[in-house]
């Protein structure tokens, strides 16, 4: 507790009511800072150590996503949480790709959940702050020589893997799976670095699968490549799947290349410093898993992690 009591959390909202509530809710738990605009928040971040930032999305002058992107530029270690009453898909996708946010919390919120979420973020922030940032050369060197980086594509369209292979070039080895079972088979046998997935494969949502993968294989990085999605499932994907990027179909070569390469780099970073995976911990789904088939697959994932351990 002595550790976390010194953690500092910054709350940003243009509504003073929210800030007053936060002051009361987190009183005595962390060192709290408050700002009622993005520019004020940025100033605080620059001047004082901040571990976690919780921001509203809709604010005059600077939106939450804009703020979080700027904050990430100032200090990458600050964990970023969006707390907002309503957000359109564009800002959610922006918060994932530009803000690399940890959680997306809807107003009105549940006090306990918010406390827990901030606590997780504080833990992750403390751990990552203790790790020296890796220079790019180290990452390059850490790459297994002679091995092409493995990428798995989960999509109903069997041709998607080939398209992505074309975009990425021979440096990467792209394989495809058109069912979740086939995907799990590949994940079990191969050392996959990045999973590129549609939001649904064979009309089964991939969120819980990605969440479980993240739990049991934390260094795996996932990218969503989707034709269409809604705000709700995008929020689920970030909160429960910790997706790293979200890109839209049809594929734009350069956009996809940049997104996937940064995902691969993220994977290398996580492999090098496993403690960092805390930054990408997923939240347990509140919704019960309805699909029996998915349940079976999730059991297999649990299983293969333990097998990996024993074989190691």
């Amino acid at each position: 507790m002595s550790d976390t009591s010194q953690a500092s959390v910054l709350f940003v909202d243009d509504d003073p009511g929210i800030l007053a509530t936060m002051r009361m809710l987190f009183r005595g738990r962390y060192k709290t800072h408050f700002a009622n605009s993005g520019s004020e928040a940025l100033q605080i971040v620059r001047e004082q150590p901040v571990d976690v930032i919780v921001s509203d999305q809709r604010m005059p002058a600077m939106t939450g996503v804009e703020l979080l992107r700027a904050v990430r530029g100032v200090n990458e270690n600050i964990m970023r949480i969006l707390l907002t009453g309503y957000s359109d898909l564009t800002s959610i996708v922006g918060s994932i790709n530009d803000g690399e946010i940890f959680r997306f919390v809807n107003k009105p919120w549940d006090n306990e959940e918010l406390l827990q979420c901030v606590a997780l973020a504080v833990d992750a922030a403390k751990i990552s702050a203790s790790i020296e940032p890796l220079p790019e050369e180290t990452l390059e060197a850490a790459k297994p020589a002679g091995h092409a980086t493995r990428i798995l594509v989960m999509d109903d369209d069997a041709g998607m893997a080939a398209k992505i292979q074309d975009i990425l070039g021979p440096e990467f080895q792209v394989s495809g799976a058109t069912t979740l079972a086939a995907a799990v088979d590949q994940l079990e046998s191969d050392d996959v670095a990045v999973v590129i997935s549609e939001t649904r494969v064979q009309s089964t949502p991939v969120t819980s699968l990605l969440g479980k993968l993240k739990l049991h294989k934390p260094e795996l990085v996932s990218v969503i490549l989707t034709e269409r999605t809604d705000a709700h499932s995008a929020i689920e994907l970030i909160n429960q799947g910790q997706i790293f990027r979200m890109i839209s179909k049809p594929l734009h070569d350069s956009q996809a290349r940049i997104a996937i390469k940064s995902a691969v780099r993220q994977h290398q970073r996580l492999s090098h410093a496993p403690q960092l995976t805390k930054r990408y911990e997923v939240a347990e789904s509140r919704e019960p898993v309805a699909n029996k088939a998915t349940e079976g697959l999730l059991d297999r994932i649990r299983g293969f992690r333990s097998r990996l351990r024993t074989s190691a």
Partner: protein, 637 residues
Amino acid sequence: MPGRAHYLALLLIKGACGRTPYSWGRETGGEMRLRMLFIGAIAGTAIAILLFLVRGTQTVDIDLHMERLGLLQQIGNLDDRLDRAVVLETTSALVASRKTRTELTAEVGDKLDALEEGRLAFRGLSPGVDAALDQFQEKIGDKFGLAWDFESQTSRGMERMIRSVDSVPFYIGKLEKLSDDQALHQILRSLQYAITTYAISPRPSDIVTGAVEQRSKELEEIEGNFGTEFQDASKRLRGAVNDVIVDKTDLVNLLNDFLTIPTVTSLQGVEEAYNDYHESRVAVANQYRIWLAAYTAILLLMLALLGLRLAKSFRDLDRANETLEEQVKERTADLSQALKNLKESQAQLIQSEKMASLGQMVAGVAHEINTPLGYARSNSSIIRGAIRDIRGVCEAQKQAIELLGSPDATDQQIAEALENAARVEDQIQSLELADELDNLLNHSEFGLTHIGELVQSLKDFSRVDRTRTDLFDLNQGVESTLKLATNHLKKGIEVVKKLDRLPEIECSPSQINQVLLNLVTNAAQAIGDKPDGRITIHTNALNNGVGIRVIDNGSGMTPEVLEQIFDPFFTTKDVGGGTGLGLSISYKIIQDHHGRITAKSTPGVGSEFIIWLPSKQPESEDGMEPIATEALAAATA
């Protein structure tokens, strides 16, 4: 005949085309022209052949033929009459008969000229006719030549003969005086009679001639019985008779020569030659007639084929018409279905535009509501926790106070209780906490009031109304619209309201609010991230109604864009940014209210939308299209 030919030609043209009218239209212009040319050539040839054949049958002119025959007959008659005139002339030297002959000769000359040239000319008809004509002309020439000789010769012979004949009665009278012999007188009378008869006969028969010679011989036989005077007179008489006979014989020979010239035969030769010619022509005409008949039969056959073909075409046409009607029915059904679908999808589009603008509004409203709702709810649970803490303080203090008042309590117990109460209070800081809670409650109250206002605005905005007869203060509409549009206006856009006192107007408030929201939303979007964005809303009473102006200092529009802004589906926003129906629906709503909406804009400076609404709606208009109001009501209920 030409009429029939024309008819046939027409049929030929039709036949040669050989197509149903359907197939005509599918040809190109060039093909069509070629085809028409071809058809024209065939028709022309057919008509030419027909005319040629018809002309061939018409070479024999019966009237002309009869006239020609008549001419030949006239010539024959004239010849005959000429002969008779000549004969008559030989017997009587009458001037009248000569005159007749001259006239006849002239007439014959005319007719002969007619044979050579003119309408009835025989010359040149055929070589046979020409030869016969030449021969005839030659003969008739001879005859005329003879006639002229004859005239000169006979006039002398005739005079001599007449003198001789005239001398006969003189000698007979002398002889009768010289003798009373009855037999002699008988002979003399017979002789006189015989010589007169002989003289006046154009060509005396042998009997007449014999009678004269007999009487002359009888006189010779008996003259010896009489005296010399008698004998002398008798010899003179016989000499005169001989002269008469000699002259007469000469005349008769001349006449015979004249009459025996074979004009009649050669005329007959002409006629025969002409008849031969005529026959040949008739034969040719008959040949043509046969050909014409054959040709006509062929044409009729073609006509029959064309008729069949035409009938078939008509049958096909009828069948096509039947299927056409069915097709038309089908197509009509398809079209009406398509129209229905179109109307439905149009209604759906309008609906979805309403939902889209509503969605934007709901997004803002949801955020506006969720924020105070979030902290009010959170505050409740914080306050609940705080109350639990305060209750702990209260209980500790209550316990200490009870112990203080209790006679059984030891000092030690009281001291512990007081110490505990102080510790708990120290932990909680209940008075400070109460202040904080007060503060939270103030915020909660403020937030709940804000929620209440928003809900009230929603209710105002979406006033469920189906008629335009509601009386509505437009300023109220501006206020509630601005409250709902706050989220669009948040990014530091200044809103200036210049609202005059307005008369209440008859309108559908929810629809007018929708228009206002649309204009304010557009204005906010036009301003975008531009600093010092300002939206000015003017309202004023104007011309028996109210005027509203929504002015922004945003990006403005080019004249081209300005022209199209009220068109359906026209949008300058990115795909997904808007349906492009907002302004067109606004336009329709204002039109439905018998108002006017116009726009002015300068690129880079800003835009101004101007609305005028009448204070009263025409009475005949009852009810309005309920879609907008229903959608709003459903979405905000």
